[in-house]
Subunit: 415 residues, 2 copies
């Protein structure tokens, strides 16, 4: 890393050993797009027979690679993924579309597939033209160098303002065969639903169809990446993709082609674990973050209403700065509940910080001890619970505090 | 002011001479609610015959005084306004409602009117019980001391994190008679539609009916207070009220009882000027603000769509921190346009900073000179214009940058 930004204090204390996924090889390179002395290109080479699924930003101004992936997803026989950091290739007009085509052609030539079988992503500065020619010099070498055990390197190559690489893994069974899921993600700012990440990739050897993979991914994103917000800003590049090589069929895993197949239960859970793990790591690496903040809303009229209220709290600068200041300022939580536009009754509202009830039924909790709560606020993780007392809708989202460092990081990111 | 926070560099360079408004007398006092060595209570005494209008927060958790005012507005014969700073009397349950009643009773007794003819507001910390007994000691003295030339003192008494008092005045004619409008406001954080202020009051001697006053106020708020955002957080206490004493009838102003009366034209414009002036002062006093930011959106499919896009830009932490860093990071503007959820076509989008076009039809402007724009970004006012190229809808909102000082101010506001 060229940047002298210290690693987030909320980073996981250990990095999991990442197993290989049969059918996936990875390589990274330093193409010099923006950064010096670090890798900035990732290539994943996928065996024939791989299927893909994807969920993309809802931005009305998506990046060129997002449009490329959306366009190719249904017809492709996925053979490669190319991701670069340092430049988002977003809002780059025709040049951007040409850069996508050129990059895919280089990768396709090196691998021996069609350009439409190559998936792309770019992350970094918006609006600067991406000089795709830099890939021309490195791609062939990357195909040769690609190895199955480069997961942490892959996660590092796609970092931008991230302070640590984000990887997760899980193992489960389909039928009697073991299947593996690996994933990595990047994202630290411009993080909000939908999607709540910039880039995340999941790979598995499970022999599931593209339709199954898409359903599981679309379902899984709701309570993982879509339940994380750093700053309420939605990226133009947000991409979550999953690739299933099907290689586990060779050691007996049954091929699954229906999303409601009961044999998927373990796989669905394992995938959800990986998605949630990666999403939480994004929150833990929120730009300038010193506190991981979990917001639980219960007693809402519906889950959707609970989500909106939770997001209103999670995106409130006043709530986030109070938490940065270790101040259990529940009045601001009331404010954020009130502004969500969802059903809420002040006189039924209760609020907890790290398990301590500070407000109850529309007023300060009689047993509220400021000092006890102050101590709780010193923890690196803050659980903020709101009970609305109206119905059975509940939800949970993750965010982080808003510190001076966030302002510093984003006040001179481009320079 | 007890706080050592310096006055906003965006404060107006001069304060207007505030004329008297026949029928309005003002007094301030130091009741010691929270602050030391400053006034924290305002009393406005209104002559008989005064009519009132109000626009209040849309928060689902409004403060007790907001509920009080809403409840009294239609039936009251307004005789007094009592505003305190230091405590918002919000989320205070039954105690809060009792505090309102008690305050109104004290004022009513001192003035000789009904409690229901007294309007109230409180601003400051949310969730702390307001000890209304403190008003008992000061109210009678305030009624005696009330004078017609206390406008700046009134504006000072209701300040919380404001760094300067906000007053505005305008004069116009109805028929051949001169009428005067005075206003003051407070607000620096927790400022977003609807309403984009915490408290603002306007007084006039114009003989307009309550219905006329309400219509003009409701119409006027849309492009003034509702077009300002500091941090996207909506207060539980937002209140804009207008009082018309009708005293100008004594020197010939005609009584106006229909909102569409053509004789109202000048008055409507003058009122709008006062509202816009007060609203802009709120943006200029945004917590920690160093830049006033005007966002103009044109070419949208409707005014409503333009407003939403403008607000998406105005509330984006990434846009606001970039402006704090004097970085013309138009890529983040693209992001904010994209996330607004409104119709936008990347390939038709153009963006200007202080009149310099930096992006044109979906890509970087060919003539874009980074250094020229960098110089423009050093100005204290930044005009950010976005042209969508889709239709004729346009709108304008005001905001400010997001600085480390905002985080500092809000990280220890309560302590």
């Amino acid at each position: 890393m060229a940047k002298p930004v210290p690693v987030s204090p909320l980073a996981p204390t250990s990095v999991p050993d990442m197993p290989v996924i049969a059918g996936v090889k990875l390589a990274t390179a330093a193409a010099g797009i923006k950064y010096r002395n670090r890798t900035d290109v990732l290539l994943a080479v996928l065996d024939k027979g791989t299927v893909a699924a994807g969920v993309f930003t809802k931005s009305k101004c998506p990046s060129a690679p997002v449009e490329w992936c959306r366009d190719k997803l249904s017809g492709a026989k996925p053979r490669a993924l190319v991701v670069n950091s340092g430049n988002a290739n977003a809002f780059t007009g025709k040049t951007g579309r040409a850069a996508c085509k050129f990059t895919a052609e280089i990768a396709a030539r090196a691998i021996g597939c069609k350009p439409g079988d190559v998936f792309l992503a770019s992350t970094g500065v918006i609006g600067e033209p991406l000089n795709a020619k830099v890939f021309d010099g490195v791609m062939e070498g990357m195909v040769v160098a690609a190895k199955p055990d480069m997961w942490l390197d892959a996660a590092k190559a796609i970092m931008t303002t991230d302070t640590f690489p984000k990887v997760a893994t899980a193992r489960t069974t389909i039928g009697k065969a073991t299947v593996t899921i690996n994933g990595f993600s990047k994202g630290a700012g411009m993080i909000a639903p939908d999607m709540a990440t910039m880039l995340a990739y999941v790979f598995t050897d499970a022999p599931v169809s593209a339709r199954v993979l898409q359903r599981l991914l679309s379902d899984g994103v709701e309570d993982s990446f879509n339940a994380v917000t750093i700053d309420g800003d939605t990226s133009t590049s947000d991409t979550l993709m999953a690739f299933a090589t099907g290689a586990a069929a060779a050691h007996g895993a049954p091929r699954i082609s229906k999303p409601n197949d009961p044999r998927l239960r373990g796989f669905r859970n394992a995938l959800q674990m990986v998605l949630c793990d990666l999403a939480e790591q994004v929150a833990r690496d929120g730009e300038g973050a010193r506190k991981l903040v979990e917001i639980e809303v219960e007693g809402a009229v519906s889950k959707k209403s609970a989500r909106r209220i939770a997001m209103s709290i999670a995106n409130s600068p006043l709530v986030k700065t109070a938490i940065a200041g270790e101040d259990a300022n529940w009045g601001r939580v009331v404010m954020a509940v009130g502004k969500a536009g969802e059903q809420a009754d002040r006189d039924k509202l209760s609020i907890w910080f790290n398990g301590i009830r500070v407000a109850h039924k529309g007023a300060r909790d009689p047993g509220y001890d400021e000092r006890q709560v102050s101590d709780a606020m010193k923890q690196p993780k803050i659980s903020l619970k709101v009970a609305l007392g109206l119905g059975r809708g509940k939800d949970r989202v993750l965010t982080c505090d808003l510190t001076k460092e966030y302002v510093a990081i984003n006040g001179d990111y481009r320079s």
